[in-house]
Each structure stands twice: as structure tokens, then as C-alpha cells.
């Protein structure tokens, strides 16, 4: 399996993502945001960071960069796109995913391990997990508060597009386990065809037991499983 990691000015998780992909036998190719050519890959990863210094709105400027029109074409062909943290913000700004990520409700940058529950395990990104499995994974963001209007939230629910929800260690989704004010504890969603996935937690930072946990492997193993079939 081959993956393109898009590097924007201000990306800072691009190399961590590269290391994690390699570890799970996914070949990474780094692609600069100003390029107009996207190599033939199975997966595009938009990494975490602060693209364009978070100017205007997080992810807004990056979503208009040259390579993004190629990423949108790639997604429209039903190929895989994964957006982590700032990558998730770029995906909502580009229109590949619905909704928006606004400022955390406590106005603080939150950097800590949290728990998420896998709500839908029937996607290319979660197939190697069990439904309702609880995963320990770090978040590190200032704008992770997911918002969408009521009508579209309903659609997300009925179409099973909500993939991850913040929860406590036991898997209970409640107000106390919501770190940032995100609507119904949403931590990750897909598009309606399940090939574009955005999440605020950082799986690449939880891909080595030596570095405090490897629960993030669920995504990489699922992707490999998808590529094999």
C-alpha cells in the first residue's frame, strides 16, 4: 500500500506520520502543498500541525492550496483520504467532510491522552476494531469543537458517518468525557461513502508502545486490511 503525505507550510506531524506509516508497511511519499501532481497512491494523508499559521480559520488557507484540487479529485474517485487534527480541519474547509471545527469551549489548547469509542467499525479505517471498542489516544488542539447544523447532524447519524466519539475509560459517552465541547462528543467522522475520514486524535502519536501506547495502530491495521482485500 502506498500513501502520499501532504506537507503544508506549518505542518508538524508529517514526519511522525511518515514513520508510523512505514512501521505498518504503508509506503509514504511526501508531497509539497504547492505541487500540482499527486503520485498514484491508495491513500492521501493530511497531517496535523498549524498549516499557514492557522490564519483566517484553521485549515482554510491549506484547503485552497494547489495540491488540494488533486486530493479532491482523488477522493471523488472513491479513493482513501485521512485527515488528522489540522488535516481534519482542512477536510471540512475543503468541503470533503461536512461541518466545521471551532475553538475549544474552554478556550484552551488541550494536549493529553483521552479515550474514544469506535461507533462504526465497518469502514476502511476501522475494520480491524470491534464496535464500541475503547481506544486510548492523544489529542493536541485548540480548535477541535465539532459543529454542524441540526439537519446535517441527523444525516451524519442515520448514515453512520460518526466514527469516533469521546468517552471515558469504560466507553461511556457523556459531558464529562467531552474535552472540547464537540457536538455529541464527535471525535471523527467520514463522508457518506466512507472513503474520507477526519479525526482530531493523533493515531501516529500512539503507534509505538515505547512512546506511551499503541492504540493508534487500529487505523493503520485497518487500512492494510482494506488494501489486502
Amino acid at each position: 500500500m502506498k500513501a502520499a503525505v501532504i506537507v503544508f507550510p506549518g505542518s508538524n506531524c508529517d514526519r511522525d506520520t511518515k514513520i508510523a506509516l512505514k512501521k505498518f508497511n504503508i509506503k509514504p511519499i511526501m508531497v509539497w502543498h504547492n505541487d500540482t501532481f499527486l503520485p498514484k497512491v491508495d491513500l492521501v494523508v493530511l497531517p496535523g500541525g498549524f498549516s499557514y499559521g492557522d490564519y483566517l480559520r484553521c485549515g482554510s488557507m491549506a484547503s485552497k492550496s494547489k495540491i488540494m484540487s488533486e486530493v479532491i479529485k482523488h477522493a471523488k474517485k472513491n479513493k482513501l483520504v485521512l485527515g488528522i487534527c489540522n488535516g481534519f480541519q482542512i477536510l471540512v474547509e475543503s468541503g470533503l467532510l461536512p461541518g466545521v471545527l471551532i475553538r475549544n469551549n474552554n478556550l484552551k489548547f488541550i494536549c493529553k491522552n483521552i479515550y474514544v469509542k469506535v461507533v462504526n467499525n465497518k469502514t476502511p479505517f476501522t475494520s480491524k476494531t470491534k464496535k464500541n471498542e475503547v481506544i486510548k489516544i492523544p489529542i493536541a488542539h485548540n480548535e477541535g469543537n465539532y459543529f454542524i447544523d441540526e439537519k446535517n447532524l441527523k444525516k451524519l447519524k442515520t448514515d453512520n458517518q460518526i466514527i469516533l466519539q469521546y468517552c471515558n475509560q469504560k466507553g461511556l459517552v457523556n459531558k464529562e468525557s467531552n474535552p472540547n465541547g464537540s457536538l455529541i462528543n464527535i471525535a471523527g467522522i467520514t463522508n457518506s461513502t466512507f472513503n474520507v475520514f477526519g479525526l482530531m486524535p493523533h493515531p501516529e502519536r500512539a503507534s509505538d508502545a515505547l512512546l506511551g501506547g499503541d492504540d493508534g495502530k487500529f487505523i493503520f491495521n485497518s487500512l492494510l486490511n482494506y488494501a489486502r482485500n
Binding site: 482554510s60 485552497k64 471540512v92 466545521v100 471551532i102 475549544n104 469551549n105 459543529f147 454542524i148 447544523d149
Partner: protein
């Protein structure tokens, strides 16, 4: 031609910065403040002298970049 763009949060969208500012105003003695909503102003200078064309083009800019219509409204006006 000079234009001014106002980008404001839609009514139902939570504004944590606005509420922090409101609390701060209350704390320094402005007890009458019930609510604060924070927005943005852009001042643009266009290489175009036709008012209608300028307004139309700036509206396009708002839809494509300056505002996120999921959470924000915008208003464009000619600035003298």
C-alpha cells in the same frame, strides 16, 4: 475601489471567545453587558471601479474563502 467585509458568527453557533470577553467586560465594571459576539472585518482594495462588479466579486470571495458559511454570515459594503 475599497470594500469592507463583515464576517459574523451565525446565531446558533457558540462563541466561547465572545463569552470570555463578556465576562471580562463585566469584571471591569461594565455590568450592563449581557452578550458579546466576536466577528471579523476585512478591508479590501480592488483594482476595479464598477461598484456592482466589485460587490459581486467580493461576495464570491466571501463564499470561497473569507467566510465559512456553515457557521458564519457575511456582509459586503463599499467603503469610501
Amino acid at each position: 475601489m475599497k470594500l469592507r467585509v463583515y464576517v459574523t458568527l451565525k446565531k446558533d453557533v457558540l462563541d466561547p471567545q465572545g463569552s470570555a470577553i463578556k465576562n471580562s467586560l463585566n469584571n471591569i465594571g461594565f455590568k450592563s453587558v449581557n452578550d458579546v459576539r466576536q466577528g471579523k472585518i476585512f478591508e479590501l482594495n480592488l483594482n476595479e471601479n464598477d461598484e456592482n462588479k466589485s460587490l459581486k466579486e467580493t461576495e464570491e470571495m466571501c463564499k470561497k474563502l473569507l467566510a465559512n458559511l456553515t457557521i458564519e454570515n457575511f456582509k459586503v459594503e463599499i467603503a469610501e
